[in-house]
Symmetry: C2
Subunit: 175 residues, 2 copies
């Protein structure tokens, strides 16, 4: 089998479970393909986008940079996982057009549930107004219309969500 690159693109609110699922998915892909790269929102903001803020314009630039790097990797046969909130539909579709081998995973959990988990303590600061332009609170989140996979993390375990993605990747011929 020829090794084809592909990009698993997570999208979802802060605290919805993107990083948790991607940590498990990395192991599954490594087992089957040997290598995989993760471009996580925080890593990218440190290495490629320091100085950018959270306005729509800056978020779009950040996502375009992730897309540019993912594209370079994918076209050289590398499996890539991108895990950034990526709240805007138009820019996600732009990246889909660019990369082609694009598997969008909508990590779905309500704002209430994400705020209850509040893993990084950010929702409390968003509700108090200390953080402006916080996705789901003071900034919009646009769910995808036709994602390749939907993970409902209020109902599924991390293992179940990961298994759904792996199954879809197998179906699409990437694993």
């Amino acid at each position: 089998m020829e090794k084809k690159g592909f990009c698993v693109w997570f999208t979802g609110l802060s605290g919805s479970g993107k990083t948790t699922i991607s940590n498990l998915l990395v192991e599954e892909i490594k087992k089957r393909r040997g290598n995989v790269e993760v471009l996580d929102g925080d890593v990218v903001r440190t290495n490629l986008s320091k100085g950018l803020g959270f306005s729509k314009e800056d978020r779009d630039i950040n996502i375009r940079r992730i897309g540019f790097v993912a594209h370079l990797l994918v076209r050289n046969g590398v499996p890539v996982i991108c895990a950034a909130i990526s709240p805007y539909k138009a820019i996600r579709n732009e990246i889909r057009e660019l990369i082609k081998d694009f598997v969008e995973v909508y990590v779905n959990a309500s704002v209430d549930e994400c705020a209850r988990r509040d893993v990084k303590g950010l929702y409390a600061r968003a509700f108090s107004g200390e953080i402006k332009e916080f996705t789901g609170v003071s900034d919009p989140y646009e769910p995808p219309d036709n994602p390749e996979v939907v993970c409902n993390t209020e109902e599924e375990t991390v293992e179940e969500s990961t298994a759904k993605i792996v199954a879809r990747l197998e179906e699409m011929g990437y694993l």
Copy 2:
């Protein structure tokens, strides 16, 4: 033979011949390895570093971003060519430490000769003071101490320079 990634890192003044040599080198690497990516100064400034200027700080950030992306590709077995002026020694050495499989190519031509060629018309604008912080005119260029290859483009043809790099890559086991 296992396919090992590597990074050919060009450094030299604007107009010294980095892009011209890298265009020929790309073909040679493609023939032998099938794939190769070029991270050229202009491409990167468009896709990863829009908004950055030419102060030492901004140049260093730009080079670090190129290094970050090159590293991701190299560790996945991809041959990469980086062709940016990269005038500062310390940051080039930082990238060398990061990537390890790093082949520094010093493209050497005097400021006078580069200004005579003035491919992009930039030297005229630098001498007139219209462009500030122009490497070799109003901003320093620090040549490498121990580059893997030196191309003296005032004396060699593009073919000769390229052949030197290919020979060194074969010697080092990358081709």
